[in-house]
Amino acid sequence: MLEINDLTITIGPHQIVSIEHLSIPAGRRLGLVGESGSGKTMTAMSIIGLLPRDAVVTGSITFSGVEMVNRSERDLSNIRGAEIGVIFQDPLRALNPTMRVGKQVSEALRLHNTVPSKDVKKRTLELFEQVQLPEPAVLARRYPHQLSGGQQQRVLISMAIACDPKLLIADEPTTALDVTVQKEILELLARLSAQRGMAVLFVSHDLGVIKAISDHVAVLYGGSLVETGPADDIVGSPRHRYTEALISVNPGHPEDIDASLGKPLVTIKGSVPPMGAFLPGCRFRGRCPHEIEQCAVEPPITEMTGDHSFKCWNPVDPAMPIDSDDAELLSGRQ
């Protein structure tokens, strides 16, 4: 339903994103994962044309067969909200602080003429029920600051699904929330997506969160898609060294709590270079503990069975699971 081909996003002299191919079939959930500065949000926002003014986009993004790149602002704003819903990271900043939340959801419904105006109020309350807000009629009259973070995010979700979108873009929707609330929101999104056959593009820096919600995972680093595949394959048998590193940094639930207590966690050496400072060849070069000479040359895409592909010269051997030796190698000692 959504298909991206040869997409590049350039700002000034720097190419920020370069994606050969990425697609989301109708009703499926794709997780886009990478550290801050790897181009996740840029990629997601390019779909709905919400990029900085000086960004130049080439290539093709088709949504339900319609080309989205270089579309007029007028066409895009008809699609945004109606056919593609969006949820942003910080719920408090995405809501108007001076307007009751019920009215903000009604506004979305009125804007896209989805329901006759006499039914708008009723529909708003139905939406609140679907996102499991307690006492919809009472909450609808509250202002954003009177709601908890989780409730605010639920209001935003109800707004994003108000017009029955075919695709929902969720950019770090749970990062500002507690883990308990995060779990509830992830379950809610998965349920809504299944009930409505709505595709979801879920963006996060945390592979643990991505794994909990996605069928399919795309790992982004330095604006380049380094590995894509079914979620279970990506987490269970990663091939790219960056994916392996992202799995290792998850604090997780160790089997032996006493043994892991106080032991250093695995880290990724260094930090994401600023825009335009990535080395040529493999983007992960310089931070990767398994670098070989070939890595100075851009690695080709290796396709495997089961829709799993990666770009790495010295990939993880699937027969050798990530072990503590790797953890030693990866940890960036100060």
Partner: protein, 262 residues
């Protein structure tokens, strides 16, 4: 191990002045008992609004309890604050959640880093001292002349830690120090805190909503809900055999995003 800090039957309310009119109103914190041996690592866990940050602020003397007693190193907190306020704050330092807002955006790092020494020891730190403090948290001296907006979240949090440690405290309180950071950076900051704890023999109090994080760092865990301690004990015991439904919810929530394969 000697007990460094002890709090018994703590009650706290942000609207204490209104209590006389409404004595049945719920407390922000209710009947809290904490014992912290010197050199221990204690994790305070709970959801937003459970009173984690309030408890930390009480323990390090930034708020005053309505009822109950806090003893630090054999003396009551009231006595510390009235007689040796500077010395108490020097020995109890805190690092906050958002590194961007805990450093003044108009001050160079050099100035921000010097503040505690100026305020608590009433002297200006030497240039070599500033460099050493930064080195301790894995940063080079060149960040001294920078402003906060020129640095990354991870770097700023390191600076916040260096600033807290510049006055050689006994206890370091870290209030959600990694919540605003990427998971990859989170691991670096946690390793830094554990390393510094070892090197300086600190007592570390880590506040977090994420049990997975606390379980890697802390020997003891205190679970707070609605201002009350619902469970407290050794980390392994709390994690593997939670006694209350609430703790079980927390364990499950952090397990939901765990990637460790058994």
């Amino acid at each position: 191990m000697t007990v460094l800090l002890e709090a018994s039957e703590l009650f706290f309310d942000y609207h204490a002045h209104l209590r006389r009119r409404d004595p049945d109103a719920s407390w922000t914190l209710r009947d809290i008992n904490v014992t912290m041996p010197a050199g221990s690592t204690v994790g305070i866990v709970g959801e937003s609004g459970s009173g984690k940050s309030t408890l930390v602020r009480l323990l390090c003397g930034l708020l005053v309890q309505s009822r109950g007693r806090i003893t630090f190193d054999g003396r009551s907190l009231t006595e510390w604050l009235s007689q040796d306020r500077r010395e108490f704050h020097r020995r109890n330092q805190i690092v906050f959640q958002s590194p961007a807002s805990s450093l003044d955006p108009r001050l160079r790092i050099k100035t921000s880093l010097s503040e505690p020494t100026k305020a608590l020891e009433q002297r200006k730190p030497k240039a070599t001292e500033l460099r050493n403090w930064l080195q301790d948290v894995g940063l080079s001296g060149e960040v001294l002349s920078r402003y906060p907006h020129q640095l990354s979240g991870g770097q700023l949090q390191r600076i916040a830690v260096a600033r807290a440690l510049s006055v050689r405290p006994d206890v370091l309180y870290a209030d959600e120090p990694t919540s605003a950071l990427d998971v990859s950076v989170q691991a670096q900051v946690l390793n830094l805190l554990m390393g510094l704890k070892q090197r300086h023999g600190l007592t570390l109090v880590l506040v977090s909503h994420d049990l997975a994080v606390v379980a890697r760092v802390c020997e003891q865990i205190i679970v707070l809900k609605d201002g009350q301690v619902v469970e407290a004990g050794g980390t392994a015991a709390v994690m593997t055999d939670p006694k209350t439904d609430y703790t079980r919810t927390l364990v499950e929530a952090s397990r939901a995003t765990s990637l460790v394969r058994s």
